[in-house]
């Protein structure tokens, strides 16, 4: 968790990258992470693939299906990440749906996260209420930052509750949609970014969903601390394989 908090204090806009573990090839996880760090990425979300990713668009769904076909499992992900902290220093988060975590055993999963050097978790279908009543203490025990999402439909009251429960950053969904790329944000979205900035929340916000190029990255980071690219990077992996993160990153920053 401390690695995320330190990174958030850096005086720069953060580039954060999502990729699906086990895609395009089963054993690409480590090399993708190392290349991303070398290319200047500030933070990484490692996607734990799930058969039924409700909040994801076609690109991430397809990469998850492929990863599962390749043989990706929760246990294998932890094995692949076993020595990751010997070579990688930037914050690493796992983004995954709750059912695979539940089957792995929640406590066991969090413990493994801590052992491998994972700093935070994004679990889209673990809502704030369930986190607070059942899982808060276990996040704290293993020093994992819980990351919650907000959307343009989230009320200010609820945003403040989420801010209160968060200890790193808030994942700000750019628009009402599932994950996927777009070429530019419209006036309405920019107004939303500015409005959230004006709330003066205690946690910085990082924008995800719809970031795909330097235009959308600049728009997203005008008022917020950073942006997350997912689908667009997954497409890049599919086209060019896992060894070429650098060209991708150079089109963003």
């Amino acid at each position: 968790m401390k690695r995320i908090q330190d990174q958030l204090r850096e005086d720069k806009k953060l580039v954060s990258i999502y990729f699906t573990a086990g895609f395009p090839n089963l054993d690409d996880t480590k090399v993708i992470i190392e290349n991303l760090e070398k290319s200047g990425v500030d933070m990484i979300e490692i996607g734990l693939p799930f058969s039924d990713p409700l909040a994801d668009g076609p690109t991430i769904q397809a990469s998850s299906t492929k990863a599962l076909k390749n043989g990706m499992t929760t246990q294998l992900l932890f094995e692949q990440l076993q020595n990751i902290r010997q070579t990688v220093n930037i914050p690493l988060l796992i983004m995954g749906y709750f059912n695979p975590i539940l089957q792995f055993g929640v406590e066991n999963f969090y413990k493994k996260c801590q052992e491998t050097g994972i700093d935070g978790l994004i679990i889209p279908d673990l809502p704030l209420e369930v986190y607070l009543s059942d899982y808060k203490s276990i996040f704290e025990k293993y020093h994992l930052a819980p990351i919650f999402l907000i959307t343009p439909q989230t009320s200010e009251d609820r945003i403040r509750q989420i801010d209160e429960a968060s200890d790193a950053f808030i994942y700000m969904v750019s628009s009402s949609s599932v994950t996927g790329s777009r070429t530019a944000f419209d006036e309405k979205q920019l107004a939303y970014f500015e409005k959230i900035a004006s709330l003066k929340l205690k946690n910085p916000q990082i924008i995800g969903f719809g970031i795909s190029n330097s235009t959308t990255f600049k728009q997203a980071t005008q008022f917020q601390k950073g942006a997350i690219l997912g689908s667009h990077f997954v497409n890049h992996l599919e086209k060019y394989g896992s060894h070429d993160a650098e060209t991708f990153i150079s089109t963003i920053i």
Partner: protein, 395 residues
């Protein structure tokens, strides 16, 4: 009412249920949660709901004493004739309720998922009735095997969107409907067809379907001078017809409840949909319930000859009825169901849906006493299954 078997205010049935939804769905689900009881208990709502059930759906549906079937099994068997509902199954009880709610919430666009197409047709029907836009998500695999229902939905003015993700069946159609709702959060209402999904859906759908057991009690009083049967039998996929058939008997433990699940080609065949036998606790479509999945928590694809029972989970109410042993769960194979289907046709002149034939097949599996009163919920008619019957029996 004592609520041992109904949901608590957070939508839990024992340890099952709840609302495990992404934040993007929170405002819509919360709006529904805050309003569904309030609106559905308003006198005006009740009046409109019951008037449509009577004049449009054709309720009350008969509680029919099946004499020849009773003779064969040497017990007293009543059939609750949901197959006589408009559109051919109980599904419309729920879609009428939800469309009235959607209208009162000011929604203009309706989305739904469908497997066999029955819920899709029931949704398209009420959308036509209310003049609302209707989009139905349906897996490509199901579209191929249910052509007549696609045509019905189109005639009713609905748009059918083929789903090509995942295994291209009901669970993927449900995922896609949820994604649509995420992307259209303001004027869209999602009509779920079973007692599944995040709270308040399981409770809401069970309440709309509870008309089935409400009528059973009144009709049994008329015909037998008693309110409660000894047994109520219903098939369970997600479990909406069973929820409706069990609802008013849940707290009366003298009434034994039997849920018939689809064993497909057999529980150990790898091609089955018997969730209570094969499932573990997990999360599907926003609900914590019993779920067929791999050790790694990936949801597996179920199989049944009946498209309507082809769901890898069961509603949280049923997971609780199973765990608490309030209901007995029996697994019925494809073959047992098909035999029960043709038996009903030849003994009583009624062609049942293959889903309902699973409930009928319980008669072969379990011994009832001559003095028992057994109600079987005949949830749908078999017209939609003619092709399957033709192929199976080489008719």
């Amino acid at each position: 009412m004592n609520t041992n078997y109904n949901s608590d205010e957070k939508g839990y049935y024992g340890s099952f249920g709840g609302a495990f939804i992404p934040e993007m769905l929170y405002p819509n689900v919360e709006e529904l949660r805050r309003n569904y009881l309030k609106i559905s208990q308003e006198p005006e709502f009740k009046k409109e709901f019951h008037s449509l059930l009577k004049q449009y759906v054709g309720r009350p549906t008969p509680l029919y004493l099946a004499k020849r079937l009773s003779e064969k099994y040497n017990t007293k068997i009543y059939l609750k004739r949901e197959d006589l509902c408009h559109t051919g199954a109980h599904k419309i009880n729920n879609t009428i309720g939800q469309i009235l709610l959607a209208k009162r919430l000011g929604k203009q666009r309706i989305i739904a998922e469908t497997g066999a197409g029955q819920h899709g047709v029931a949704t398209a029907t009420v959308c036509a009735l209310m003049g609302l836009q209707c989009i139905v998500y349906m897996g490509e695999v199901d579209i191929e095997r249910q052509a007549p229902n696609i045509a019905r939905m189109k005639m009713l003015g609905a748009e059918v969107r083929p789903v090509s993700s995942g295994s291209r069946t009901l669970k993927d159609a449900t995922n896609e409907a949820i994604r649509d709702w995420i992307s259209n959060p303001e004027a869209t209402f999602y009509i779920i067809g079973s007692v599944v999904g995040p709270h308040p859906y399981p409770d809401m759908v069970a309440r709309f379907q509870s008309i089935i057991s409400e009528e059973m009690q009144l009709q049994l009083m008329e015909q037998e001078n008693r309110q409660n049967p000894d047994y109520v039998i219903a098939c369970v996929g997600g479990g909406s017809n069973a929820a409706g058939a069990f609802y008013h008997f849940l707290e009366n433990e003298d009434v034994k409840l039997i849920a018939a699940e689809a064993a497909g080609k057999g529980i150990d065949s790898g091609e089955s949909a018997a969730t209570s036998a094969l499932g573990k606790i997990g999360i599907i479509h926003g609900s914590k319930t019993l779920l067929m999945q791999t050790d790694d928590g990936q949801i597996t694809e179920p199989y049944s000859i009946s498209a309507g029972l082809d769901y890898p989970g069961i509603g949280p109410m049923h997971a609780h009825l199973f765990e608490s042993k309030r209901a007995e769960f029996l697994s019925i194979t494809d073959d047992q169901a098909m035999q029960a289907g043709i038996e009903l046709a030849q003994l009583e002149g009624i062609i049942p849906a293959i889903e309902s034939a699973h409930a009928l097949a319980v008669l072969e599996c379990k011994k009832f006493r001559p003095e028992d009163i057994v109600i079987i919920n005949l949830s749908g008619r078999g017209d939609k299954d003619l092709n399957t019957y033709i192929n199976y029996f080489k008719l």
